[in-house]
């Protein structure tokens, strides 16, 4: 069986790759494109560590086939900062110590960005339910929620 040829736009760059039919987008990002920022914590869509934005929608890249991405746009954690300017969420995660081990952080940042893009001024409850698809085992979520609140405030010019 030969590989499938796929072309897509990833973090603004036009990318072409070959993948096997059963390979997931996460496999492709990590193993074929060297984009290891998305992590595989479970492979079953339960932890959110592999979160990316596919055609504007937040998805678990472990539950998308690499072949499905033909013609699509993908945004990953590697594209979140603009040059050396961090996104406010990245800055606030650092300032609020919203990470301990950091393995869940790329997924949380992608999910938090999708949340704020859709709802710029969320309540604490909306943040907590909006991020329920991302597991963190280190922090108890407290500092993550505070960092998202602080980032929302900053983005909204507060």
């Amino acid at each position: 069986m030969s590989g499938l040829a796929v072309s897509a736009t990833i973090n603004g760059d036009e990318v072409e790759y070959l993948c096997q039919a059963e390979e997931t987008l996460l496999d492709v990002l990590r193993n074929r494109l060297g984009l290891t920022g998305a992590k595989e914590g479970c492979g079953t869509g339960d932890c959110g560590a592999c979160s990316v934005v596919l055609d504007g929608k937040l998805v678990c890249s472990c539950l998308v086939l690499g072949a499905e991405v033909q013609g699509a746009t993908v945004e990953t954690i590697e594209g979140m900062a603009k040059g050396d300017t961090l996104h406010p969420l990245q800055t606030k995660f650092l300032e609020h110590a919203a990470l301990q081990c950091g393995i869940c952080t790329p997924g949380f940042l992608m999910a938090a960005k999708a949340l704020l893009d859709a709802n710029p001024d969320p309540t604490e409850e909306e943040i907590r339910f909006g991020l329920a698809g991302n597991l963190c085992r280190c922090t108890g979520y407290d500092k993550i929620v505070r960092a998202v609140q602080a980032a929302a405030l900053e983005i909204n010019g507060g």
């Binding site: 079953t44 995660f93 110590a97 393995i103 952080t105 929620v145």
Partner: protein, 754 residues
């Protein structure tokens, strides 16, 4: 120079501030490299074949068809990992756990492994390995495993610690006992006695990063291992031992680690990766799936505990006793012993006795999980303490204060305490607004105390002063949650330079001396002590270089505010020399400037915490919501308060999951039913409230800054605090963790039916 670790009161410039961590930007941009994020040229994909049976004799393993598959480069079985243990039982058990020899002892036990050119081929190859099993009777429940009728895992196990030695083998590997005084006499003197039995189910650390490594063995016998671990020096030693390698020939690099909590203190599949690489002659990457993590890494013990405590009407505890039965998986360890040691450590008791039984079952080998064994013992003891307070009509905090251990108390496990923080945490709890907030219907409040020993251990650190006056700090304790920031603060404090001038890195095993693992809450305690020592040694070097630059006796040079200063009236016109000025001149004054430290960090102060929790229970469904949670814990000295708070909050959150929902569920066939994050339910963001923290600082007399470990104690009180809260909310004493909705509803129904 001799290092004086005695605590000295001082004011701090850097320690106690909250700067951004040095590894932070890498972690928010996806650049940080974890276990599975590393690759080597020519790397193969490894996979492990695991037993589907809870207990089975392995007849034969036919690997011929797998080996013949195109793209398969190596297949290994126990034959490729010969037993070099030479009578060392622990070594043998470790090897047996990495690759089953004659018997598979649990669902998920490794029986063979392959290395192939890609994941698809490796998957196919696993299916071509033919294993013939003779399925044996199994036992997974800790109490059932102790019955005379239970299938015995090893006919070589005769309970240790029992005199005379039993004549028949059993699953009870060892008995341990602690305490002092006369419990029977103490109970006879009691006015009120509460006696109860408890059970806790097996839980997993639940780190988000599955185990992952890349192993590369060369034809000359040298090897490299890239791995996510809590202790790369320990992994090096274990892998070298198991594979018969010289320690010097194996270089282990710890990747960034995506959580461990004790689960990454043992080798699991790393020796297998090395064996595959040795056989294939190519690097091999081996990454566990989440299912493998649950089935075949090291969860904590399931337990069964009996507690009896008696007290007089005035609230004085007259006697306390506990019997603790802890599951160990298939190999003998000391988990019940730790439970027995910690059970009553919070209290000042005249008559106390604890007995622990290590029980072998057909479950994965138990590993440490954050303050291992203490949360379950605290659940049982603090539940009875709470009930006793109620029966005495006393406030639960006042009752605990009356019986709290203090400086000079002989602990239930032996040692006499120095200055400790149990009383201050209770005082703080009593004064906390949380304890006095009103509660509505179906709501309950609980509180509980917890204890952990903390640990120090072997530590080696290098501090190099660079030519521009900045500092590179090389430590050998893995950073699991911000310790590079804390250690940079300590070096900055000691040297008197800005935090930004210090860069802490975790060195690999070839570039630094041995370090114990990041466990026992030792990371910041021991490495900060070593960093202080290394800094002071570097200061000595810089003083001598300054003396040389000034051409004055070194005794006339002091170190102050990050500068060498000449003392005495005759040198009054010498401007102080900064680290940078001294470093810039180092090429002419004797070469590079460095401070080293090698030590056994003694005196890790014991740690105490008190937690308060409010819950709401839906009486129709048994569903529990955590409404409010407060952690009060002694940190000795909080070096980086953000990360101290983070440890408090993280421990509490793990405890909440354990208390309410997390458990290993086995089917009648002995297979794990929920090896995934869907049905092994760790708390999600919407399950939790903000977790309030209060850091107390009762200095540890054996650390220059008074630091105590903080990482583990925070998981000790939650099971009990939440159980007390739920029990208070529903009016039924909950004795089985997790208090899942079906268990709560069943308890409510039982009460209704009377």
């Amino acid at each position: 120079m001799r290092f004086d670790a005695t605590y000295q009161d001082r004011t701090y410039k850097s320690v106690g501030t909250r700067p951004v961590r040095p590894d932070g930007v890498d972690k928010v941009t996806g650049r940080a490299r974890y276990g599975a994020d590393f690759n080597m040229p020519g790397q193969l994909v490894g996979r492990i074949l695991r037993s589907p049976h809870a207990h089975a004799r392995i007849g034969s393993i036919d690997t011929a068809r797998a080996e013949a598959l195109k793209g398969v480069k190596a297949v290994v079985t126990a034959d490729d990992l010969p037993d070099l243990s030479n009578g060392d039982q622990a070594h043998h058990d470790l090897l047996d756990n990495c690759m089953a020899r004659s018997t598979a002892f649990y669902d998920g036990h490794a029986v063979a492994a392959v290395a192939a050119v890609d994941a698809r081929t490796a998957r196919q190859a696993l299916k071509l390995i033919e294993v013939s099993y003779e399925v044996l009777p199994h036992v997974v429940d800790v109490d059932e495993a102790m019955l005379p009728s239970a299938p015995v895992l090893h006919d070589t196990i005769f309970t240790d610690g029992v005199d005379p030695r039993p004549t028949t083998s059993s699953n009870v590997a060892a008995r341990s006992e602690f305490g002092h005084g006369d419990v029977d006499a103490g109970l006879a003197a009691a006015d009120v006695i509460v006696e109860r039995s408890f059970k806790t189910e097996q839980t997993h650390q639940g780190y988000i990063e599955p185990h992952a490594c890349v192993a590369s063995v060369n034809s000359d016998g040298t090897a490299e291992l890239w791995v996510c671990t809590q202790g790369h020096f320990v992994y090096r030693q274990k892998c070298a031992d198991l594979l018969g390698m010289d320690v010097s020939k194996l270089r282990v690099t710890s990747s960034e680690i995506g959580g461990g909590f004790g689960g990454k203190t043992h080798v699991w599949m790393e020796p297998v990766a090395l064996a595959l690489s040795r056989k294939a002659g190519r690097p091999v990457k081996l990454v566990m799936s989440r299912e493998e993590v649950f089935r075949a890494s090291g969860p904590t013990s399931a337990t069964s505990i009996d507690v009896i405590i008696g007290a007089r009407h005035d609230g004085t505890i007259t006697a306390a006793s506990a019997e603790l039965r802890y599951s160990c998986g298939p190999y003998a360890e000391l988990w019940a012993e730790l439970g027995a040691m910690t059970s009553f450590a919070c209290y000042d008791l005249q008559n106390v006795k604890t007995v622990g039984y290590e029980v072998l079952v057909n479950r994965p080998k138990t590993a440490a999980y954050r303050a291992p064994s203490a949360p379950m013992a605290a659940f049982a003891v603090e539940s009875v303490v709470d009930e006793l307070a109620q029966k005495l009509g006393m406030d639960p905090i006042a009752f605990r204060i009356k019986n709290a251990a203090r400086e000079g108390t002989r602990s239930s496990y032996g040692p006499v305490y120095g200055p400790i923080g149990i009383r201050p945490t209770l005082d703080a709890a009593q004064a906390h607004p949380h304890m006095h907030a009103p509660l509505g219907p179906n709501k309950g409040r609980g509180m509980a105390c917890g204890f952990w020993f903390n640990f120090g251990g072997q530590t080696c650190t290098d501090l190099n002063v660079n030519a521009d006056g900045t500092v590179t700090l090389a430590v050998g304790t893995v950073d699991v949650g911000g310790s590079r920031a804390s250690l940079s603060l300590v070096a900055a404090e000691e040297l008197g330079i800005p935090y930004e001038h210090v860069r802490a890195v975790v060195a690999d095993t070839a570039t630094l001396g041995y370090n114990d693992m990041t466990d026992g809450s030792r990371g910041t305690f021991s490495s900060s002590m070593a960093t202080i020592s290394a800094s002071r040694n570097a200061i000595e070097v810089m003083r001598s270089r300054a003396a040389m630059m000034w051409d004055i006796p070194v005794e006339e040079v002091i170190w102050e505010d990050g500068h060498a200063k000449a003392i005495g009236a005759s040198y009054g016109n010498l401007a102080p020399l900064s680290v940078r000025e001294i470093a810039e001149a180092s090429g002419k004054t004797g070469g590079p400037i460095a401070g080293h430290s090698e030590m056994v960090a003694d005196g890790a102060g014991v740690s105490f915490a008190t937690h308060i929790c409010d819950v709401e229970v839906d009486p129709e469904t048994g569903s529990t919501r955590i409404l409010r949670y407060t952690v009060i814990q002694d940190a000795g000295k909080a070096v980086h308060p953000d990360y101290v708070e983070g440890q408090y909050q993280g421990g509490a959150a793990q405890g909440i999951g354990w208390a309410l929902n997390e458990e290993y569920v086995y089917g009648a066939d002995g297979r794990l039913q929920n090896p995934g994050f869907l049905d092994y339910r760790i708390p999600v963001c919407s399950d939790l409230p903000m977790i309030d923290t209060q850091i107390l600082e009762i200095p540890n007399p054996s650390h220059p800054y008074g630091v105590r470990g903080v990482g583990e104690t925070s998981i000790v009180p939650p099971l009990a605090a939440i159980a007390n809260a739920v029990s208070n909310a529903v009016g039924v004493r909950m004795t089985h963790i997790p208090m899942s909705p079906p268990r709560i509803l069943a308890a409510l129904d039982a009460r209704t039916k009377g």
